[in-house]
Amino acid sequence: MATGIKDKVAILGMGCSKFGELWDMGAEELMVEAYLEALGDAGVETSQIQAAWFSTHIDEQSVGKGGTPLSVALRLPNISVTRVENFCASGSEAFRGAVYAVAAGACDIALALGVEKLKDTGYGGLPTGQPGTLLPQWGANGSAPGNFAQLASAYRAKHGVSKEDLKRSIAHVSVKSHANGAKNQKAHLQKPITEDMALNAPIIAEPLGLFDCCGVSDGAACAIVTTPEIARAMGKKEIITVKALQLALSNGLESTHNSWDGSYFHTARIAAKRAYDEAGIKRPREQVSMMEVHDCFSITELVTMEDLFISEEGRAVYDVMDGYYDADGKVPCQIDGGLKCFGHPIGASGLRMLYEMYLQLQGRAGTRQLKNPNIGLTHNLGGSPSMNVCSVAIIGAHGA
C-alpha cells in the first residue's frame, strides 16, 4: 500500500535566475545562474549530486533534446540526467523525478532544473510547434490565449456571469499580480498596473486583453533535494518537506465527451483532491497558507481558485473582487508576481513556483514576506483547457 510522499523528502536548496527578456543570456547562462544559487543555498558541491532531472519544453527554441545540455552546462560528474517534458508542467515534472528518486532511496541528493530560453524566436508570444503528424491535419489552429479564453465563454454561460463582471474580475487578477511582481527584483514585469489599464488593453484573444496574458520570458529555476534526515545531519534548521506531489492528465474526456462543460479544469480538481489527501489537508480554504498557481492567463487563475476548492464553484469571480487572493488577503496567490509578472520560461515555471513557496516558508521573501505561512501550494498546468497536464504540489515546514 502506497503511503504517499509526505515528509519523506526535504528541499535542501533552491535557486532561480532573473526572469525576463534576457537578450544577453542563453540557456547555459540561465542554468548556471539558478544552479549556483541552489548549490550555495544547499551547501553542497557538484560532486555530491547523484542524479538530475532536467525540464525544457520547446526543444526547437531552447537547448534541443536530451539531458546533455544540463550535464554540459553544469559540468556534472557523468551522473544520470533525464530530460522531462510535459507541456508547461515540465518544471514540476523534473521536481517529481528528483523527489521520487530520493524517496525511493536510489540516491541521497538529486537535482531538478528547468530552463527555457524563449526570446530567440523573433516575435512575441509563445512559438508555434508541430504537434505530431495527425493533429495538424484536423486540430483547430489557435494560440495559447485563444485556447484558454475558451474558459471565459463557458464559465459565463454556466454561472450566468455578465461579460463585464467577468472582465472586471480577471482584470483584478492581473492588477494583484502586478502589485506583487513590483516587489520582486527577479520578476520580468515589475510595474504595477491599474484596473483601467487592464480593461482597456488591446484584445489578444476575446475576452483576454494584453494584461490578461502572462509574460513570455527567459529563465531557469532549480531545486536540490535530499531526505529530511540528511538535511538535518547537514545542519539545516528550518527543514521544508514535500507534502504532496500529484499529477493528473486528461484522457480525452474533456475534448471528446459531452460530460465536461468547458468552464473548469477536470484534471486540476482530481490532482487537487489527491494532493490534499496525500498532504492530510481536510479544509483547504483554511489550511493552505499561500499559493502559486498557473496564471498563464487571468481567466485560468480565476477558475483555478475553484478547481483547488478554495473558492466555491461560481464564487471565484466574487472572491477575487473581494481581495481574498491579494497579498493581504486570506490566501495570497501569486505573491511573487506569478507567471503574469515573474514570467513564464516554460520548463522552469513549476520550479519557480516552488522557489517562492520555499522562500516564504523560510521567511526569506524580503519585502513580500507573508506572515507565518506553513503550507504552500503550487499548481502547474500545461496544454489547453480541453487537454492538459495538471500538477499540484504542496510543501511545508517539516511536521506541519
Binding site: 524566436t121 523573433g122 516575435y123 508570444g125 508555434t128 508541430q130 503528424t133 495527425l134 495538424p136 491535419q137 484536423w138 486540430g139 483547430a140 489552429n141 489557435g142 494560440s143 490565449p145 485563444g146 485556447n147 479564453a149 475558451q150 474558459l151 471565459a152 465563454s153 463557458a154 459565463r156 454561460a157 488591446p202 484584445i203 489578444i204 484573444a205 476575446e206 475576452p207 483576454l208 484522457n251 480525452g252 474526456l253 475534448s255 471528446t256 465527451h257 459531452n258 460530460s259 462543460d261 468547458g262 468552464s263 489547453s384 483547457p385 480541453s386
Partner: protein
C-alpha cells in the same frame, strides 16, 4: 437517342456568402482605368480564403443530397464527375477529394473533367449518357470554379465564385434528359497556358460576333433537330454569357422567344465558369413546372447543348438551400483590399507566425481518410456514445469498451458552441481566428475552427453546421489540406 430513360433526380447549388460590391471594385481601380466605372454595378460572389472549387463542389453536392447519415444515404451513387478549370490539383484526382468528403463508397468511378468553360455541361451530358448506356445506375456531377483574374480586369467584375451539383439516374427523374448536341471548334476566345495563373483574352467584339453568335445557334439547331422538339416549345433557355443581351439575341436567332431566356445572375453572382450553366439549370429547376422544357447551352471551344423535360417528380427532391437560398445567405463586402488578399493579388505582411511549416504527412492523411475528409468518427456499439475521432477504446468513462466503435459521420449533424474565442494572435488569412468547442446532441465534440463568421456575432449555445474547407496551405510544396469547420446554421 438514349437506350434508357434517364435524367436529373437531384440538384443543388452553392454560392459563397461574401458579395463583393462592384462599386467598391470600380472605385478602387478607376484611377488606373476610368472606364471601369461603367462596370461598377451590382455584386459578385466572393469565395472566402478557405474555399476553392473542390470545397464549393462539396457544398453544392451536399445541397443536392441532404442526408442525416451520409454513409448510408449516399451509398447508391455509382460515379462522380467533377468539372472545373480551377481545380486545386493538376495531378491528384480532385473528384476523389469530393467523393471522400461526401462519404461516398470507394468502389465507384470518379473523374475530373476540365479544359473548357463548357466542361460542366459536358460532364453532365457524359454522366447522363453513361447512365443511359447502363454501366451504372446513378452518378453525381458537380462543377465549381474560383477563377483567378488580374486586379482591375473586366473579368474580375464579370466573374463570380460558385458551384452546382446534380444527381443523374434512371429512376425518380425530376427532369428527363431528351438529348444533347455538341459543336466542337477550336475557337480561342481566351486561353490559359499550363502553369499560368491568368487567362489571356482576345477582342470582345470578335468573341461576340464570330464566336457566340455563330457557334451557339449551330448547337441549338442541331439539338432541336436531333430531339424533334420545336424551338417554340422551349420554356427556359439557358446560356451563360457575359455580353449583355447577347443570350436573348441568340435565342431569337434560334427561334426561341426572348422571354424564355433565363436570367444569367450577372447582377447578383457573376459568371461562375464551368459551373455557370449548371448553376442556371439548378436555378431554372427550382422554379420549373412539370412538362416544361429546358434548353441549356454552354460555350467554350464550341458549344454543348442539352434538352430536359421537367416531370411530375420535380417537387420531390428539392435542394436544401438551392440558388434561392444561397442568394439570400449573403454578406456585403466592400473591402477591395480583402478581395486582393484572399485572391493572392497583393502580398500581405503575414508575420513570423505564418512561417509555420505546414508539411502534411500523406501516409497519415490516407490512414485517417474517413476522419479527415468525411468527418467520420465512431459510435460505441456497447454504450452508444458518439465520439470524434474514432478510437480503439471508448471515451465514455463508464464504458471503456475496446474495438466496439462503428464509423459514425458528424458531417451533417448540427452542433452547438460550448466555448469559443476570437484569437488575434494566431495567424489567419482573415483575423481574428474564431474557434471553439462544438458539441453534438448525438454525442461527441471537438475543438473546431469557425468560418464565415462575423466579429461579435458568435456566442455560446449558437447552432453550427459543419462545412468542408481548406484548413492550411503548404505554399512551400503547393499542397493544401482540407478539414471540416463550423459555421453558423
Amino acid at each position: 437517342m438514349t437506350g434508357h430513360t434517364v435524367g436529373i433526380t437531384n440538384f443543388g447549388a452553392y454560392l459563397p456568402r461574401l458579395r463583393l460590391q462592384r462599386k467598391a471594385m470600380a472605385v478602387a481601380n478607376a484611377w488606373f482605368n476610368p472606364s471601369i466605372m461603367g462596370l461598377g454595378k451590382g455584386e459578385r460572389t466572393m469565395a472566402n480564403w478557405d474555399e476553392d472549387s473542390v470545397t464549393m463542389a462539396v457544398e453544392a453536392s451536399r445541397d443536392a443530397l441532404p442526408a442525416k447519415d451520409p454513409i448510408a444515404a449516399r451509398h447508391h451513387i455509382g460515379a462522380v464527375y467533377f468539372a472545373s478549370t480551377t481545380m486545386p490539383f493538376a495531378d491528384r484526382q480532385n473528384a476523389g477529394i469530393l467523393s471522400s468528403a461526401l462519404s461516398l463508397p470507394e468502389g465507384i468511378h470518379t473523374a475530373d473533367i476540365t479544359g473548357s468553360q463548357r466542361a460542366g455541361l459536358s460532364a453532365l451530358i457524359f454522366a447522363l449518357e453513361k447512365i443511359a448506356a447502363g454501366s451504372t445506375a446513378s452518378a453525381l456531377v458537380a462543377a465549381a470554379d474560383r477563377r483567378s483574374t488580374r486586379a482591375g480586369s473586366a473579368q474580375e467584375f464579370q466573374f463570380g465564385d460558385g458551384g452546382a451539383a446534380f444527381v443523374v439516374a434512371r429512376e425518380n427523374i425530376a427532369a428527363r434528359f431528351l438529348g444533347s448536341h455538341s459543336v466542337s471548334v477550336d475557337f480561342i476566345d481566351h486561353f490559359r497556358g499550363a502553369g499560368e495563373e491568368y487567362d489571356y483574352n482576345w477582342e470582345e467584339r470578335w468573341i461576340r460576333d464570330e464566336g457566340y453568335s455563330r457557334i451557339v445557334p449551330r448547337a441549338v439547331k442541331g439539338l432541336l433537330e436531333k430531339t424533334g422538339v420545336a424551338a417554340s416549345a422551349i420554356d427556359h433557355f439557358i446560356l451563360p454569357c457575359t455580353f449583355a443581351k447577347l443570350d436573348q439575341q441568340i435565342a431569337v436567332k434560334s427561334g426561341i422567344d426572348a422571354s424564355k431566356v433565363r436570367d444569367n445572375l450577372s447582377a447578383s453572382v457573376g459568371e461562375c465558369g464551368t459551373a455557370h450553366a449548371l448553376l442556371m439549370l439548378a436555378d431554372a429547376l427550382e422554379n420549373a413546372k412539370p412538362g416544361q422544357k429546358i434548353l441549356v447551352a454552354a460555350f467554350g471551344q464550341g458549344c454543348d447543348a442539352a434538352l430536359f423535360e421537367v416531370t411530375a417528380a420535380i417537387g420531390k427532391n428539392r435542394p436544401q438551400r438551392g440558388v434561392k437560398g444561397f442568394l439570400a445567405r449573403r454578406k456585403e463586402e466592400t473591402n477591395y483590399m480583402k478581395w486582393l488578399a484572399f485572391n493572392g493579388l497583393v502580398e500581405m505582411e503575414k508575420g513570423m507566425r505564418a512561417e509555420k511549416d505546414n508539411k502534411t504527412a500523406l501516409s497519415v492523411t490516407y490512414r485517417k481518410r474517413d476522419m479527415l475528409f468525411g468527418l467520420v468518427g465512431g459510435k460505441c456499439e456497447k454504450c452508444g456514445t458518439a465520439q470524434f475521432p474514432r478510437t480503439r477504446i471508448c471515451v465514455n468513462p463508464n464504458c471503456g469498451a475496446v474495438d466496439e466503435q462503428k464509423p459514425f459521420s458528424f458531417a451533417e449533424l448540427t452542433g452547438k458552441i460550448l466555448s469559443w474565442s476570437a484569437d488575434y494572435l494566431t495567424y489567419s488569412q482573415d483575423p481574428p481566428q474564431h474557434y471553439g468547442m462544438v458539441t453534438f446532441e448525438e454525442g461527441g465534440r471537438f475543438l473546431a475552427e469557425f468560418t464565415d463568421v462575423d466579429i461579435g456575432a458568435i456566442d455560446t449555445g449558437a447552432e453550427m453546421r459543419m462545412v468542408f474547407r481548406v484548413k492550411d496551405f503548404d505554399e512551400k510544396r503547393g499542397f493544401r489540406r482540407y478539414f471540416w469547420k463550423a459555421t453558423p446554421v
